[in-house]
């Protein structure tokens, strides 16, 4: 596939350009093809979830969107321009909170903010801390926080620089179900208020259906996109509604086929359920 032909014409008005484009991207590590010929456009202000079995290349795709890894073939575009490296326009929220252990919560949240003017900086930090319900903990050090509080502080730190795109790699995977629920709620109300473009990697079908506008289900060996499912339902979503049940079933079917394929390849049927 000729990559040059895929680059959208520059004349297209900005609002109609996809925010992010994954255009015919392949990436391998040594002999292992991690991702093969993936193409996907992510619209401006869209919440896109990436689900798929372990090892299918979700993290690899996110790392390429972030600019930490370079595609071997194809291109990653932001606003029609190739991504050349990491930057604060595509902020990454890692699976671990990755707070800086030598800064207190407030300074961690303000990490990406300019030092001056000081009043503005402090006001911004204060607003963000309130947004993630950590005002009372501004002066604690990261090691004094619970896992959920750390991840909330990391979220506030990311939002502080007002990124156009948030890239999240299973940010809540390590949390207990209750905390995860609370953070889903917070993330959702935040996102509904500011409509950032979000790419959200997850193993959890529930998480994807709860949060996303569109869900890209990935296939493995080689990693590629199997199907993209629209979730055209208003927030907050009613998990007992037939629409949600239908979408969940559709994703589960895709994943089940994928797992059966893996099981057949590996010659054991432990994975089949």
């Amino acid at each position: 596939m000729n990559v040059a032909l895929q680059t959208p014409p520059v004349a297209l008005p900005k609002a109609e350009l996809p925010k992010l484009s994954i255009a015919g991207v392949s990436k391998s590590f040594g002999d292992l093809a991690a991702v093969t010929d993936v193409s996907l456009d992510i619209r401006r202000g869209e919440f896109l979830a990436l689900v798929g079995p372990s090892g299918c290349g979700k993290t690899t795709i996110l790392q390429m969107l972030a600019g930490f890894e370079k595609p071997e073939r194809g291109q990653i575009l932001i606003d029609g321009r190739p991504v050349t490296g990491p930057g604060p326009d595509r902020l990454v929220l890692f699976q671990e909170p990755a707070l800086l252990p030598w800064l207190n919560v407030a300074d961690n949240v303000g990490f990406g903010l300019p030092a001056k003017p000081r009043e503005l900086r402090e006001e911004t930090i204060h607003l963000l801390l309130r947004m993630v319900h950590l005002e009372k903990f501004a002066h604690l050090m990261p090691h004094q926080l619970s896992g959920g509080m750390k991840q909330r502080a990391a979220l506030a730190r990311a939002l502080a620089v007002d990124p156009q795109v948030l890239l999240m790699d299973e940010p809540f995977a390590a949390l207990d179900p209750q905390t995860r629920e609370i953070l889903h709620h917070e993330l959702q109300s935040l996102w509904l208020g500011i409509h950032k473009t979000v790419v959200f990697v997850t193993h959890s079908v529930e998480e994807a259906v709860r949060l996303a506008d569109r869900i890209a289900v990935m296939a493995t060996q080689p990693g590629r996109i199997r199907r993209v499912i629209d979730v055209d339902l208003p927030h907050p979503r009613d998990f007992n509604s037939p629409e949600v049940a239908e979408i969940r079933a559709a994703i589960r079917d895709e994943l089940r086929e994928e797992l059966q394929k893996i099981a057949r390849k590996e010659g054991n049927d432990e994975y089949v359920f």
């Binding site: 930490f68 902020l91 252990p101 030598w102 990406g112 050090m141 990261p142 004094q144």
Partner: protein, 252 residues
């Protein structure tokens, strides 16, 4: 009984047995020091001002030498951590040189600088430089790569990455490198001060030998240990504990 009173009791007991042993065995007084003789010598030396002068000039030397070693060690450590080429070329050399007892620099120092202040300074710098450099290097290379990525995703420049991520992240290891460098530097200084008669505690040690004053020799040894431990515990220990506690880490 807490650990300090146990230690004190043990110390007093040992000293008493020692004092009695030397007094009542008829051992040669110019060969065997007594605790009371050592204490008297220290008190006298401090009151007469000689030991204060000696301590003062040793302190000036260690401060100057350590300052040079800290700056150079930080630069060398950054270079070793940041450049693969530098690591491949000089890494093994740095480790080898660090293993060299610092007294081995003495002959070279004298050849290059003669019997001078500069020779002493040279020995101190060589004694502490490489511990500091290796501490900096290890602190940086052991930093979780994730923290570097945090800096990158926030769009830090190379310089900001060093000042806002690398150095604060490596601070605990840098501090322990500095601490070790200081204590190596202190030992090197004592060796260096033995090369010729000049001010400093090393000189007081030499004079004690020449006067056949075994109590003075021991008194100066006590002062050297005391000052070394004092700086190690009070200056470095306190800073290190604070830095570690702030990050929720236990002292190593």
């Amino acid at each position: 009984m807490n650990v300090w009173s146990k230690r004190l009791t043990a110390l007093v007991l040992v000293l008493a047995v020692w004092e009695a042993g030397v007094k009542f065995s008829g051992a040669a007084a110019w060969l065997y020091p007594t605790p009371s003789g050592v204490v008297a010598n220290i008190v006298g030396g401090l009151q007469g001002g000689e030991y204060l002068l000696a301590l003062g000039s040793s302190f000036v030397r260690i401060t100057a030498g350590f300052a040079i070693a800290a700056v150079a060690g930080l630069a060398l450590g950054l270079l070793l951590a940041g450049s693969r080429t530098a690591r491949e070329l000089f890494g093994p050399v740095a480790i080898g040189v660090q293993a060299l007892p610092s007294i081995c620099w003495l002959p070279l120092a004298v050849l290059w600088f003669g019997l001078s202040e500069r020779a002493i300074l040279f020995v101190v710098v060589m004694g502490s430089l490489f511990s500091i450099a290796l501490g900096v290097r290890d602190g940086i290379t052991q930093l979780p790569p994730l923290l570097g990525r945090v800096g990158q995703t926030f769009g830090l420049t190379r310089w900001q990455q060093i000042t806002r991520i690398t150095l604060p992240g490596a601070l605990p290891a840098i501090l322990s490198g500095l601490k070790q460098g200081w204590s190596f530097g202190w030992r090197s200084l004592m060796a260096g001060e033995l090369i010729y008669v000049t001010k400093g505690l090393g000189k007081s040690l030499l004079i004690g030998r020449e006067l056949n004053d075994v109590n003075q020799v021991c008194a100066v040894m006590v002062l050297i240990v005391a000052f070394g431990v004092l700086v190690d515990r009070l200056a470095f220990g306190v800073i290190e504990r604070r830095v570690l506690a702030k990050r929720g880490l236990a002292p190593a």
